[in-house]
């Protein structure tokens, strides 16, 4: 970054992912502004885990996320709509197996 030595008018945006106590994965919970990675983590702790929601936090600069676009919706996702054989629906799942 070439902007060291001067302050930025706006802090960059970060996306926040929290792993809940009983949760399985980190889940996106929102976003926030922070001056750097460390401050983003501190802010995430103060904004998104204050009601005892989390045991682990990830933060990532929103600019570092590469997302699919609306224009790509059909070529990306439509082809999987009719491939029913890709779903494991032909198996009998025992009742006591969770999270499938």
């Amino acid at each position: 970054m070439s902007d060291t030595g001067r302050t930025r008018a706006d802090w960059p945006l970060y996306e926040v992912f929290v792993r809940g106590k009983r949760g399985l994965n980190h889940v996106h919970v929102g976003s926030l502004h922070a001056a750097d990675d460390r401050m983003a983590l501190t802010h995430a702790r103060d904004l998104y885990t204050r009601r005892n929601e989390g045991v682990s936090i990830w933060v990532v600069r929103s600019a570092h996320i590469t997302a699919s676009t609306r224009d790509e919706k059909d070529p990306f996702f439509a082809p999987s709509a009719d491939k029913v054989y890709r779903h494991p629906t032909f198996y009998d799942i025992p009742d006591d197996v969770p999270h499938i």
Binding site: T7, W11, V18, R19, G20, K21, R22, G23, L24, N25, V27, V29, L32, H33, A34, A35, R38, M39, T42, H43, R45, D46, L47, R50, R51, N52, E53, G54, H99
Partner: protein, 276 residues
């Protein structure tokens, strides 16, 4: 499959039947299983005085931190300041309750918070000084959190089991307060010329109030070591300063405490016994 979502999973019905407030779950009572009887050999008046002093530090600090709400430089920092204030308010409540149990008056926490005049408060004066700018607020918080953490770490071994339990809960909160404040002091001290100058001015302003903190408990070396580590990293200096005359622990306060209490106590005094 609401387990996939951290907030939805909190709203789920649970089998254990424990009470829940809003979305929070798994709350722990810090005094669960602690025997409130005062052990033999513990001086009740001394214990009450110690609880009162620590409770007053926390209540007055919490009120100052709450004053940042709607005025903080960033929304995220406003939440951080309010969270820290609420941690301290929680500590004050437990300490006042303990004070009422052991000082012979049987008073509840509200009586200590709302029905005492400035001369009855035993907080250190550093806590009651106006917020000033953001630099002074974070410097003040760094000093108070560093002292309180060092002191609470010792209190976890206090002969009074309730005070020890309150301290054990507070240590985790205070460690975060100190870390949050230290990160800001380094950031400001090592930032622009303006932020450096303001933060140094904040240290200069706080320095004469430090002696008061160290009067009763022997944590001076620990606290000064922590502060030195932070100021070194920040390129700042905590100047030696002769302690100011007078003592907040004896009820001698600055002119700033009375207006603070006026605001804090106005509702409770206008409507005695009101609940909300």
């Amino acid at each position: 499959m609401s387990d996939d979502h951290v907030y939805l999973s909190l709203a789920e019905e649970h089998d254990d039947g424990d009470a829940r407030w809003a979305f929070g779950t798994g709350f722990e009572d810090p005094l669960h299983g602690v025997d409130p009887a005062v052990p033999a050999g513990v001086d009740r008046a001394d214990l009450a005085a110690r609880c009162l002093a620590l409770g007053d530090d926390a209540l007055v600090s919490a009120q100052r931190l709450a004053e940042w709400t709607t005025r903080a430089p960033e929304l995220e920092e406003e939440m951080a300041l309010a969270n820290i204030g609420l941690d301290l308010l929680g500590q004050a409540r437990l300490l006042y309750t303990r004070c009422g149990q052991v000082d012979g008056t049987g008073r509840g926490e509200d009586a200590y918070a709302y029905l005492r005049d400035p001369g009855g408060f035993r907080n250190v004066r550093l806590a009651e000084l106006p917020n000033g700018d953001f630099a002074f607020s974070v410097v003040r918080l760094l000093v108070l959190a560093s002292w309180r953490l060092a002191h609470f770490e010792r209190l976890t071994a206090d002969p009074d089991p309730v005070l020890a339990a309150v301290a054990a809960k507070g240590v985790k909160e205070l460690a975060y307060h100190r870390q949050w404040a230290a990160e800001w002091v380094v950031r400001l001290g090592d930032g622009t010329d303006e932020s450096h100058a303001r933060t140094q001015a904040a240290l200069d302003r706080a320095a004469p109030y430090l002696g008061e903190l160290f009067a009763a408990y022997d944590v001076r070396a620990d606290v000064l070591a922590v502060l030195g580590q932070v100021t070194d990293a920040a390129g700042l200096r905590l100047p030696p300063a002769p302690p100011l005359p007078g003592h907040g622990r004896d009820g001698g306060h600055t002119e700033h405490l009375a207006p603070l209490l006026d605001e804090l106590q106005s509702l409770a005094r206008a409507h005695p016994g009101a609940t909300w």
